[in-house]
């Protein structure tokens, strides 16, 4: 379910700015990829199109052969139930506890409460926030809020995991832990795409790297740890 293809995708905004220009790229099911590039290169736009938060101006985005630009609202909901997403601005509900925020996708999918409790606590344990399950997002630091967002993304065991700068507010050790968590999901077949400009992290992980520059793909390489040219 996790095969992704971009076919000549262009995204032009109303002000005429082209965030993506004729991008063609594919991600095999079960692959792990860093999407990188300088600020404004088009990483977030790329992920937003994949999350169906925006529509391309031209081109096709296929996930497992289904064109996301022509998907019905019901199928879009089911698609999103199979998608884990970590957002830069977290999108947490302020009046719900950490537990309830993480439980949200499971409740939407109709899981039993006892299973939800088990899964949520496991996810919170993985991001080190189990003791804080009863707190509200406003009572957490930015880094902790980010980890809640990560727990919510991984808790439904998605087929595709997308993350926009997921380690931006985390210390290096925690960043590495989170990456290992993503790796574990990848090992059971989840396609993982992570937008990041943390060169140190990218270099250390040894995943495929797709680099965007001014809306176009300027580099697409399989990386071995330590081989990434940070000057690019």
């Amino acid at each position: 379910m996790g095969h992704i293809e971009f076919h000549q995708v262009t995204k032009r905004f109303d002000n005429g700015h082209e965030a993506l220009k004729d991008v063609t790229v594919a991600f095999e099911e079960g692959s792990m990829t860093f999407l990188t590039g300088h600020s404004g290169a088009g990483k977030s736009t790329f992920l937003k199109l994949l999350m169906c938060l925006d529509q391309p101006s031209r081109g096709q985005i296929l996930v497992n052969g289904v064109n996301l630009t022509q998907i019905s609202s019901r199928r879009l909901a089911y698609y999103r139930q199979n998608l884990g997403a970590v957002y830069q601005d977290h999108h947490l509900l302020a009046h719900r506890t950490v537990f309830d925020n993480v439980a949200l996708p499971l409740r939407v999918s109709g899981m039993l409460e006892k299973d939800i409790a088990r899964r949520v606590r496991a996810a919170l344990s993985r991001v080190g926030l189990l003791p804080r399950e009863h707190l509200f997002p406003g009572q957490l630091s930015t880094g902790e809020q980010q980890r809640v967002g990560i727990a919510r993304a991984v808790v439904p065991r998605p087929k595709i995991l997308l993350a926009d700068e997921p380690t931006g507010n985390l210390d290096p050790e925690l960043s590495r832990d989170i990456m290992h968590l993503f790796e574990q999901f990848n090992q059971v077949g989840t396609t993982v795409i992570i937008a990041s400009h943390d060169h140190g992290l990218i270099e250390s992980m040894g995943w495929r790297i797709v680099e965007l520059g001014n809306g176009s793909i300027v580099r697409d390489q399989n990386n071995e740890p330590g081989s990434y040219d940070t000057e690019k």
Binding site: M1, H3, E5, K48, M51, L53, D54, L62, V63, N64, G65, V66, S73, R74, R75, A77, Y78, Y79, R80, Q81, N82, L83, A85, Y87, H91, L92, L93, A94, L104, P105, R107, V108, S109, G110, M111, L112, R152, P156, K159
Partner: protein
């Protein structure tokens, strides 16, 4: 596109489906919505009062209508006419006039009151016997009362009155519509008024609920956006607001029942007195458990209709980012 990547029938299967999942989700949403409504009791009470007042008026008029209908159905009196004859007219001529009227299909019965019988009745019911003794002769005329047949109309009654007026020795013909005939007319007015007000106030209840639900939607837009992000379907997004509408409508129905009950308590004594003066006994009907259930159901349905209206306006094409 490679063979491997061709779309399958359902590339994104749902892990939890079926009626049990659906039921579980409804239970959860109902519980959460009830919690939301009860946590904002001041606002909720205001909505309940508005919906309750909107429902109470047409429902009260409906009660008035069915009680007036019951009253007129129970009354045995029928409209008819009274014919007053010239003083001293021979009994034979009076009997002939009575027979002529009885022969008409529009008339079901005729009762003749002679001058002597009229005098006796007057003495019995007024207690003025001594005053009449002072008069040289009986001043009361002989009369007859003709009752209109059940299938005859009031137009027929006018025709019969014209016919009776042409008979020899008739001094006056009085067409009688009983007061209950007027009540029947009033009942018709109340019924029409009830329907009209029912439609208007029902629309009012829908709009009040729609506005309240719309405000609730606006207050939770961020939550709706996040729900969409994690894969909630449009139905799941809409569901809490339908429960909002149902709770507002049911609460409004309950308030309406309380208001009607209060009105009944207030008017009971003067109404009993009024009906007693017409020889009638107050027997309020219609305000029973069935009426209450219908009131609650109507409230619930109008509330859901309002919620659907608001959800349709606000949730269609909800921008999530």
């Amino acid at each position: 596109m490679t063979r491997k990547n061709r779309p399958r029938k359902d590339p994104w299967p749902r892990s939890h489906t079926g009626p049990l999942t659906w039921w579980r989700d409804h239970k959860r949403v109902a519980r959460e919505t009830l919690h939301f409504v009860s946590a904002r009791l001041g606002t909720s009470m205001l909505v309940w009062l508005l919906v309750g007042i909107a429902l109470a008026l047409p429902a009260g008029l409906f009660l008035v209508q069915i009680n007036l209908t019951g009253m007129t159905t129970a009354w045995e009196g029928r409209p008819g006419l009274s014919v007053y004859f010239d003083l001293g007219l021979a009994d034979a001529e009076i009997a002939a006039a009575a027979a002529a009227l009885l022969a008409r299909s529009e008339i079901s019965g005729v009762k003749v009151t002679t001058q002597d019988e009229a005098l006796r009745e007057f003495q019995t019911y007024t207690g003025l016997a001594n005053a009449l003794d002072l008069l040289a002769e009986n001043p009361l005329p002989a009369s007859l009362r003709a009752t209109l047949a059940e299938d005859a109309s009031l137009v027929d009654l006018e025709l019969v009155a014209e016919f009776a007026g042409r008979s020899a020795g008739v001094s006056e013909v009085v067409v009688e519509k009983t007061w209950l005939q007027r009540v029947t007319d009033i009942t018709r007015v109340v019924s029409r008024l009830g329907m009209m007000l029912g439609a208007l106030f029902g629309l009012g209840a829908v709009l009040v609920t729609a506005t309240s639900v719309r405000l609730a939607i606006e207050a939770r837009l961020e939550e709706l956006r996040v729900l969409k992000l994690v894969g909630a379907t449009d139905r799941q997004i809409r569901r809490p607001y339908l429960y909002f509408g149902a709770f507002y409508g049911l609460g409004g129905g309950l308030i309406a029942a309380m208001l009607i009950s209060l009105c009944l308590v207030i008017v009971e004594t003067p109404l009993t007195h009024l009906l007693g003066s017409y020889g009638q006994e107050l027997k309020m009907s219609g305000f029973d458990p069935k009426f209450l259930l219908v009131l609650l159901a109507v409230g619930g349905i109008l509330g859901i209709a309002g919620a659907l209206l608001a959800a349709r306006q606000r949730l269609t094409d909800l921008e999530i980012l």
